[in-house]
Symmetry: none
Subunit: 409 residues, 2 copies
């Protein structure tokens, strides 16, 4: 199906806030086999919202509208839609009840009750969500209204809009999809490796850099169910071969969840000793629900003093080689593992910048240590980019170091 995306919000047209939701939606719609005809970003301007919406209704098969659904005075999407499409706002008691329940008789309710009024004919997408979102079918065109808050919008898009759209097209097409998640190969190299596959009929390949990873999407569009299955299996095999051990997982996997699965199945406990990342590795790991069964914790040894006090790194070692050195990375990993009795310990120490670099150890110099099976190995990296990028690369590489160590055991 062909669609348009309309993002609404004064903060978007002033350039104050980057419109990440439209890009996210475009990627996922495209990967699901839809084409995007146009994306519009407009302010909280009811006449223009109406105008853009009405023109899109004539041009495309579906429309996605994000933003302007909240409770504040500058949230005007529903009013604009009611006016433009001649659908008077109707009170939805189930939303009202949820809001009242949530507030427990608080006076602010008056304000929030605005969110319980939707254009006539609106179908609520997720009755349990804080911001429900709704679907309005106008002139046979499905128009999805989603909140502008990125995480709310993403959840509704993935769990409600995409399935509904898949049903809409009357299943003319059989769609099979998978996302392949890689770390360590540049996007251009992956692209080269999959060029031949791209040419196959019914196969769509997408490439998406996400942080320090590259994700590859495979979509097979086929009318015939069996043909779809066969083409999917063949393409899946080709991709898996092409990506090798740079492929760490698929779909809902994260690098941390994959590391966790590997550790749990091997009954190993992990600990971390972080300097320049300051807690990022621990944060990433503990995003995984249930990580306490394979992650003990560790130290944020940001200052030299804490490297000594919490990790028992020798004062002499720090003095002789400096905190950013192979020797200190080695000591951090080994001493922590020894102290907390973990099976595996990863350490990072480096210069994230913008200051602190020298000719010998420029900004981006990072040592990553790994204690495992009573042995410690340390690797030196030179990451590029700003402070955030260097810290991010360090975190991804540290997690991948654990993954690769577990895969060979």
């Amino acid at each position: 199906m062909i669609g348009e995306i309309i993002a609404i919000g004064d903060e978007l047209i002033s350039g104050r806030t980057e419109n990440t939701t439209s890009v996210f939606a475009a990627r996922h719609l495209f990967a699901a086999g839809h084409d995007i005809y146009a994306m519009h970003t407009i302010g909280d301007n009811p006449p223009l919202i109406g105008e853009v919406l009405k023109r899109a209704l004539k041009r495309v098969d579906f429309i996605l509208v994000t933003g302007g659904l909240g409770s504040t005075t500058d949230d005007l999407t529903t009013e604009a839609v009611a006016e433009a499409l001649d659908r008077a706002p109707v009170l939805y008691p189930e939303i009202l009840e949820r809001i009242r329940k949530h507030l427990g008789g608080n006076q602010q309710a008056n304000n929030l009750e605005k969110m319980a009024w939707l254009p006539e004919g609106a179908e609520i997408l997720n009755k349990k969500a804080k911001m429900a979102g709704y679907l309005l079918v106008h002139d046979s065109v499905p128009v999805f209204f989603l909140p502008g808050v990125p995480y709310q919008m993403r959840e509704l898009l993935l769990e409600h809009v995409l399935p509904k759209l898949a049903g809409w097209s009357g299943n003319h097409h059989r769609v099979k999809q998978r996302t392949y998640k890689t770390f360590g190969l540049p996007e251009t190299v992956i692209n080269q490796r999959l060029l031949e596959l791209e040419k196959r009929e019914s196969i769509h390949i997408g490439y998406y850099p996400v942080g320090c990873e590259v994700h590859v999407s495979l979509t097979v569009l086929e009318e015939n169910r069996q043909a779809a299955e066969e083409k999917f299996i063949a393409a899946d095999h080709a991709i898996t071969q092409a990506l090798g051990d740079f492929l760490y997982g698929t779909d809902q996997d994260t690098m941390a969840s994959v590391v966790g699965d590997l550790l749990r199945s091997r009954h190993k406990m992990l600990s971390v000793a972080e300097s320049c990342t300051g807690g990022m590795i621990g944060k990433r790991i503990t995003e995984v629900a249930g990580s306490s069964s394979w992650f003990a914790g560790g130290a944020i040894a940001y200052s030299n003093q804490l490297k000594e006090i919490l990790l028992d790194v020798d004062h002499q070692l720090l003095n002789n080689y400096g905190a950013v050195s192979e020797q200190v990375a080695r000591a951090m990993a080994a001493r922590l593992a020894n102290k907390v009795k973990s099976d595996i310990s990863v350490s990072v120490t480096g210069i994230a910048g913008p200051d602190g670099g020298s000719e010998e150890k420029p900004v981006g110099t990072v040592y990553i240590g790994l204690y495992h099976d009573n042995q410690v190995s340390v690797r030196l990296y030179h990451f590029s980019g700003n402070r955030e990028q260097i810290r991010n690369s360090t975190t991804c590489t540290a997690l991948d170091t654990i993954r690769r160590a577990m895969m060979t055991h």
Copy 2:
């Protein structure tokens, strides 16, 4: 002046490439006193390029078009414009000469010569640039055509488009802007407090939830310079009063950078003892460049064992009260501060879910401890949402706890 921005490129509508140029342009045009009416992103699709352009010509005072000016077969902007506005392409010898000189007789020139053909009446913006860009005045509306390559587009925008527009409009508007960053007040309450201010002439207020914070933007649009200054000062005062100590900073400030400024000016060192946040507080803090001057580090005491080993929390205490308890939060903060000799220490222990909750201590139960001036205080919170939201709320609240402690000292 009021304008529209049109970004052209198939890579943009598939979501493969993020459209950073439109945001960049919007920011700079807005800061220069212009209003953006709408931003469109469309593919390399000549009929649609023509349609969107013609509609914009009727609506606004100026138009910025980016992308599709290159030499490859999918660069179709100039053809589309020639067709839509009935301006046959004309050969611009100065561009052709520059291209030929640049290539030195290379055969690719045939391909690149396409770039020397511009719509009739086009005025070249920068004859020396690799991608010149051009201005077309149609029906008295200036339409700027810029390359889609970000750095080329930015240079032409700043050095050619903005000065030309300033001459065009005669600086009708003076703009003053500020963003106010708050934590702890719901968006609806802030909205209520600023309702009166919203009604003042020339004042624009926007509300933006960002993670667990709410940001408020103030924009003053005025023809007269002095009036703009006066209204801005009055509005700034009103907002500052209305937000009270929920306002933690403005513009480029982050909660962590403000905490850092407070600690540095008081010559205090901070340490953190994180359980359920697993490193998030440390991550947030160390995002601030130079944080090593006020942040020592701390412990990710995720398991009970690590609370004992790294933080010297009594085994008995953990046994008697459980890891998520006032007693353990108290011990974590006090023992860490004592161990690493920091002036201030913050501790968090809680149940982030989805598992681990009980009737007595449901998911969302979090204790935050603060050691400061030889005293420890602990507060109990009940955060709502999923694992990510609970951890995020915990992190924000922990940082705000430090901020508030420093403000009263």
